[in-house]
Symmetry: C2
Subunit: 499 residues, 2 copies
Amino acid sequence: MASMLLSRHVSQAMQQNSRLLVPCISVRLQPNKKNVDFEFEAPLMKTEVPGPRSRELIKQLNGIQNADAVHFFCNYEESRGNYLVDVDGNRMLDLYSQISSIPIGYNHPALIKILQQPQNLSTFINRPALGILPPENFTEKLEQSLLSVGPKGMSQIMTMSCGSCSNENAFKLIFMWYRNKERGNSRITKEELESCMVNQFPGCPDYSILSFMGGFHGRTMGCLATTHSKAIHKLDIPSFDWPIAPFPRLKYPLENFVRENQDEEARCLEEVEDLIVKYRKKKKTVAGIVVEPIQSEGGDNHASDDFFRKLRTIARKHGCAFLVDEVQTGGGATGKFWAHEHWGMDDPADVVSFSKKMMTGGFYHKEELRPDAPYRIFNTWLGDPSKTLLLAEVLNVIKREDLLSNAVQAGKVLLDGLLDFQSRYPHLVSRARGRGTFCSFDTPNDAARTKLIATARNKGVVLGGSGDRSIRFRPTLVFKEHHAHLFLNIFNDILADFK
Amino acid sequence: MASMLLSRHVSQAMQQNSRLLVPCISVRLQPNKKNVDFEFEAPLMKTEVPGPRSRELIKQLNGIQNADAVHFFCNYEESRGNYLVDVDGNRMLDLYSQISSIPIGYNHPALIKILQQPQNLSTFINRPALGILPPENFTEKLEQSLLSVGPKGMSQIMTMSCGSCSNENAFKLIFMWYRNKERGNSRITKEELESCMVNQFPGCPDYSILSFMGGFHGRTMGCLATTHSKAIHKLDIPSFDWPIAPFPRLKYPLENFVRENQDEEARCLEEVEDLIVKYRKKKKTVAGIVVEPIQSEGGDNHASDDFFRKLRTIARKHGCAFLVDEVQTGGGATGKFWAHEHWGMDDPADVVSFSKKMMTGGFYHKEELRPDAPYRIFNTWLGDPSKTLLLAEVLNVIKREDLLSNAVQAGKVLLDGLLDFQSRYPHLVSRARGRGTFCSFDTPNDAARTKLIATARNKGVVLGGSGDRSIRFRPTLVFKEHHAHLFLNIFNDILADFK
């Protein structure tokens, strides 16, 4: 299907730019080369994956930690753009991009340049305690980076080191805000100050965060109490009795199940309200609701924009903070910088957390939730200015190269291709769905999925799974239409041959 | 007192090496200069601190986040060695080193060199998902860095992004290990797999971690349940009902209170055993005990080596994992690489966590605690190879320059000086204590402490507090005897003039 498109594109590219074929080392030596010029033209496979060198390294690593999750070892120096090179010399088109965390491809020349500027060296080797001793350009770099893409209505920003810490601290912010609301004008009591030191009420109130079945918000113990995607994440870890609402399980194709899906969303929203009431009665008041715009780890579960608008309204009605977790969805892959922008709201959230493609963790929030004292949201590092420095340049590239529009265009090619597969290979591909390049489809079962992913890898395409049977697409933002055609072409052959 | 020593040292240094006075820019241009040559000779103050530029920047930052904790803004590019330069051109001797997180001083030439090597660039801009796609040199770099200084008996290592995540995951490792012990040969049940998804028993067992009053283990919700140093960290945040034992409150000088202190430690240990029994009966079984070798945030509270040996024995006796939190004490400042080495044990711990001076978070553990399946201890990044790369070089410098011996020597000068202050200014300085440069003393109260720290800062010395009235010393590992003399000289004048 896609093979004609692909060969046309590749030959065009080769005519336009013979530098596509320069050896890898040139990335390092020619940091000023334009983005479009620095990539490979196609996958190139030399061994099965993992190859012999990877297998040797996996065995070695396994001596010092459980290495059973390792797919293969990588040669990051040789990787570039959408192509991940492994230690056996295999070059793969990467549609998983380090669990969705590489924003503009490997070894982007613009980022190499940042590293090579002498005035930036100090930022990489002197990591400050940002909360007490920030660098001179701290506010300026936040304005150039995170604040330049801040969600509507959120003037406040905190940086953190990873996604879990971002959500943990967003929860804390919400609890403090809620308690201050309840406290009203009365002062903090001696009893509160003393009881909190020994983990007891009233200093440690029995508040809760409402989350959704299938959601993923991280793996530290606060986050984990709101994560419900896979048992392996949660088994054997003590948790909190916090409310868990069902997340809509939409039927596809959407246009054939309009009524059913509306009913399903209404059922879930009703359950949210019931839980808020029930947990308030149980004295485990819901201080906040946390939700992903697309349940990304739990199976690429989508709900309608209308569902989220109504959910946001329910949060407001019951006085719960609304935390939108954009750790995986944020950064542009859905075609808007934040996935919640698709909801088209003026007041979409109270707190928005991020990490992954943003290179640093953190969260935005409304001024109303601002901590009333220093050291309440605090830790030693509070992020890392070297990541914010890189992010500022990533955002420049995104704007300069209009990568949000690109995500829409490349995503359309990708999703159209998946829909085509779905009609031609319905026994293998179903529920094709997505926004921008943030696409996915369902396989018949986990065994078929595992085999499809392994086969694709050996044909030079890196894919990842989500939920119990989905394959998720999480390419970088420099994934272009021709990469989509290239993938579709390869995967079409795999589906045609699949036994 | 120390002024003669200081002036002698400074004049010696100036005779020996005129390069001490080179302008700051030379650090960048001459990365090969020897460590001893790259520093300033003394503090140099131009304004009060925070100065006008810092105040302006604090106001600006305060628009986007609560900036009340900011001491001043820094010029990291101009800082070097033990000297932190602020944005108003003030140059201060830094005895706090970013809350104890700068290992070998600012802008160390060896680290600049790492940044300048072309083969390292890729590591700084392509952050991998280490658990699935590690770089070729991953195991090698771990061996050169973290494993080269691994605690006794611990062959296994996991890296994390910060101290809180390290302890959170260490707790999880302990819970999994404990549950597997209890499970014995029986398999994981369907009920466990289903109940854990909704945060309920038996999938989420009601295990606990025993911690100590005054301890600090981080601020994410699992860690926070074991942190008991200040109310501001814990107020308004839901927590777990986990056991909290008293930590010995030793009387100083130790030699005058041998009997009392032994009794105090025995009392605390007895309480630990009582709590283990009590919480087992409450069905909140203690799966692990977490303790700092020196309670670092909670007031520099020390206990004898004998106390820790007995505590470790109690943990073993009751089948609880013993987690030693070396986030602040680890990395060499106590004169040994790990503070727990002072206990002189062959089997000091089951898990040792670290961060701060180690540049990356993580934990070591015994093979017995190794996760039995992939993805159980996991997150997107699992640390950052660029930090491990820097750490490998930091460890080279520590070995090459024998910085552990240096910590002993410089620490002796520092502590002797504090003991001298204690005898001469007993109304201001008491309970002088410490190991290596990891020293502290008590001030009469928080108000006096605040004033002493502010006065010292305006005289060119950065200090930090711990607990409710202590001042803690947390210099870098390149803090030498002459820096100690310099500090003592300045602080002597402050104490003499203090009103």
